[in-house]
């Protein structure tokens, strides 16, 4: 049995898109294989270790994100930078993705600084980009289809320090222009996909767990296959919904 330690950052502030669903999936998929997840919830003001196996940042309402942005820079940014360099896994979703980049410029020009874990920068657009999303992710050898839902006003563009997390097949992605979705540097991932992300994408969940176990143990830990029939059905239903609605 191995234990994966995850820092869930700001669960009280950044939780608007059912982020705890992602944590539940990580926990159960470890437990079903005889491992365990140790969740360390960290709020405003507290410092964090730089050696956790995983860090999770969700999305919040605008007011909460402003509170979090200041705290992230002062009490957590340094540890997160060291953790990314050391191969810890970071999953930052929606608002958390924007904060993990360089920052967010609002419609009125105000700037909310991010912490630059990802080479991504975000500017508010004139409309919200909302709807089902299907992307192809190529970080695991074979291409992986990932489904989710997006709802963001920000348009994100990537610099050379990050690669896109995925390629948009349906939906808007980073900026509705260049066909990219999300950003990745080392094992730090930012994405607009919620739904939540992991329940309907079990292969992605296992990819992240494999990385986290590798960080925890210093070796590759094989993950036993699970009965994912329901997960695959839900995944297929989400893709069928995109086709029915014809949203692209």
């Amino acid at each position: 049995m191995n234990t994966v330690r995850i820092c869930h950052l700001y669960p009280g502030e950044l939780n608007i898109y059912a982020d705890r669903g992602n944590i539940a999936v990580l926990r159960r998929r470890l437990e079903w294989r005889g491992h365990r997840l140790d969740v360390h919830e960290v709020g405003v003001g507290a410092r964090i270790p730089d050696d956790a196996d995983m860090y999770y940042l969700g999305g919040g309402q605008d007011r909460d994100q402003i509170v979090v942005a200041g705290d992230l820079a002062t009490t957590k940014a340094d540890a997160l930078h060291r953790a990314v360099a050391d191969g810890s896994v970071i999953l930052a979703v929606c608002g958390g993705y924007q904060l993990a980049g360089h920052g967010y410029t609002g419609v009125d020009g105000t700037r909310m600084p991010g912490i630059g874990l990802l080479d991504a920068d975000t500017t508010a657009g004139p409309t919200r980009l909302i709807g089902d999303v299907v992307i192809t992710v190529e970080v695991a050898g074979a291409p992986l289809t990932v489904v989710g839902f997006e709802n963001h006003a920000g348009r994100t563009t990537l610099g050379p320090g990050s690669v896109p997390f995925g390629t948009v097949r349906h939906g808007h992605g980073n900026n509705d222009m260049d066909g990219t979705e999300g950003a990745m540097t080392n094992r730090a991932i930012g994405t607009y996909l919620h739904g939540p992300l992991l329940p309907k994408n079990p292969q992605l969940a296992d990819l992240l767990l494999g990385w986290a176990l590798e960080h925890a143990t210093g070796a590759q830990v094989p993950l036993a296959p699970l009965d994912d029939a329901l997960e695959r059905q839900a995944h297929r239903a989400a893709i069928a919904r995109v086709r029915e609605r014809g949203s692209a």
């Binding site: 608007i16 059912a18 669903g21 539940a24 159960r28 007011r63």
Partner: protein
């Protein structure tokens, strides 16, 4: 733009509405109003302004329809002839259609009672200039359509700043975002629940307004009753839950069938048995009492009128199907679903559940909210679970990751088959609790209507 004179506008809009209903094309609740406002943009002001007893508008994320029904019962008991919109037709066009239809009845209505969508509220209120505005709660709901809570609260604050000073505000003191809407310009009544036995152990996960509206500092709660509602204060700026004008001093929940309420009010104490279950209906009845008092309705009328009100369409509505009882409990967002889960848990026997999740426009296309609902306490109380709807597999996964054995979940995306599957496993003396999203509720209800066990949409007031 040409403005058509009033008389011809009404006749034309009515004619087109009759045509639309006659063709069975649906839209009977919005098309006439849409036509009317196209021909005569000031029609709501004119028809609403012509009601001698004025109007009342109610809005909330949860509880609009039931509370409008409870207020309607009080108003009917007073004898006022009332025009109201139908549940679901709660945008500007729905209100216009109701006024248009009301204007054609003889004798003409005296009073307007309208439940209005949170987003459409500022426009409806600006046109109607109601006597009373009832604001009950703001919860996370359909984020894909509406953006976030703060934006709605801000739009309500701007709306109130423009209201005539003669309008009375009826505000939920227990919801920090709603209580903060009070200003010095308008008369107001604060309502809330004072009974400490209604307290939850902790803030539910889905709690929304946990920061102060004034200074953004995290709020402290002496007591939480539902979602983020309860007895709150801000240690930083001193903002706190206002003193209640209409207070539910005692709330006694009687299982899944009803509740007893003892209220303190400015006009004296009121007691009532409400034939609707759960603490959310205690809020609805308390809000309705405050609204009735704001309208000047006699104290002695209110209790019996609340007691005689029946469940609204799909909201704790009970239907008998082949000798079995089916209870429809609309559950369309985290706060509503949480309180529905808490309500069915009041039934001590093993629970037979049909949970139906759709993701159509009226439901919200983003189904991530189900992960914010605390379904976990249901697992050890479960007799049988059928999941249904467009996103049945998402709901099944929610229970799998809550810890329910995969083999115990029966999945029937088709609603008629799901209903049959659930009824087939239902013991004779047990009710089936159906927890549908909005369009899933409409779908299941139309199946019940086809089977002759529920009354059709048009029969429902």
């Amino acid at each position: 733009m040409t403005i058509v004179p009033r008389g011809p506008s009404l006749v034309l809009a009515r004619g087109i509405g009759a045509l639309s209903r006659g063709l069975g094309r649906g839209g009977g609740t919005s098309v006439p109003g849409r036509v009317l406002l196209r021909l005569r943009p000031q029609a709501i002001q004119e028809l609403g302004g012509g009601l001698p007893r004025g109007s009342l508008v109610i809005s909330a994320t949860n509880g609009k329809t039931t509370t409008a029904r409870l207020i309607g019962s009080c108003v009917a008991a007073t004898g006022w002839r009332t025009v109201s919109n139908r549940a679901g037709a709660n945008l500007v066009f729905g209100v216009a259609t109701a006024l248009l239809d009301g204007d054609a009845t003889r004798p003409k209505p005296e009073f307007g009672l309208f439940e209005v969508d949170e987003f459409a509220l500022p426009e409806v209120v600006a046109r109607l200039a109601p006597r009373v505005v009832v604001l009950m709660n703001l919860f996370r709901d359909q984020l894909d359509r509406y953006g976030e809570l703060e934006a709605i609260a801000d739009s309500w604050a701007r709306m109130i700043a423009r209201l005539p000073t003669s309008t009375t505000l009826v505000l939920n003191a227990d919801d920090p975002a709603v209580a903060a809407l009070a200003d010095d310009a308008h008369p107001r009544l604060f309502f809330g629940i004072e009974d400490p036995t209604t307290a939850l152990d902790a803030l539910p996960h889905a709690a929304d307004s946990i920061r102060c509206r004034v200074c953004a500092h995290p709020l402290e709660y002496a007591r939480v009753t539902l979602g983020h509602m309860g007895s709150w204060r801000c240690a930083n700026c001193g903002a706190a839950r206002p003193v209640l004008d209409v207070a539910a001093r005692r709330v006694t929940l009687s299982g899944t069938t009803g509740l007893d309420l003892e209220l303190s009010t400015p006009v004296g104490d009121i007691s009532a048995h409400i034939a609707l279950p759960g603490v959310h209906n205690a809020y609805n009845a308390t809000a309705a009492t405050a609204a009735a008092i704001a309208l000047g309705i006699d104290r002695a009328t209110i209790g019996p009128a609340l007691a005689s009100a029946e469940a609204a369409f799909g909201r704790a509505e009970r239907v008998s199907v082949a000798g079995r009882e089916v209870v429809l409990l609309l559950a369309k967002n985290p706060a509503g679903a949480n309180v529905t889960v808490q309500t069915v848990l009041l039934d001590p026997a093993p629970l037979h559940l049909l949970i139906a999740l759709n993701d159509r426009t009226a439901d919200g296309k983003d189904v991530s909210w189900i992960w914010d609902v605390d379904y976990e306490p249901l697992i050890e109380r479960l007799g049988d679970l059928v999941v249904s709807g467009d996103r049945a597999y998402d709901m099944a996964l929610r229970f799998v990751y809550a810890g329910l054995d995969r083999g115990r979940i029966r999945i029937e995306p088709d609603p008629a088959r799901a209903l049959d599957a659930a009824l087939a496993h239902l013991p004779e003396d047990r009710p089936l609790y159906v927890l549908p999203t909005y369009t899933a509720m409409l779908g299941l209800r139309s199946i019940l209507v086809e089977r002759g066990v529920a009354s059709a949409y048009w029969d429902h007031g």
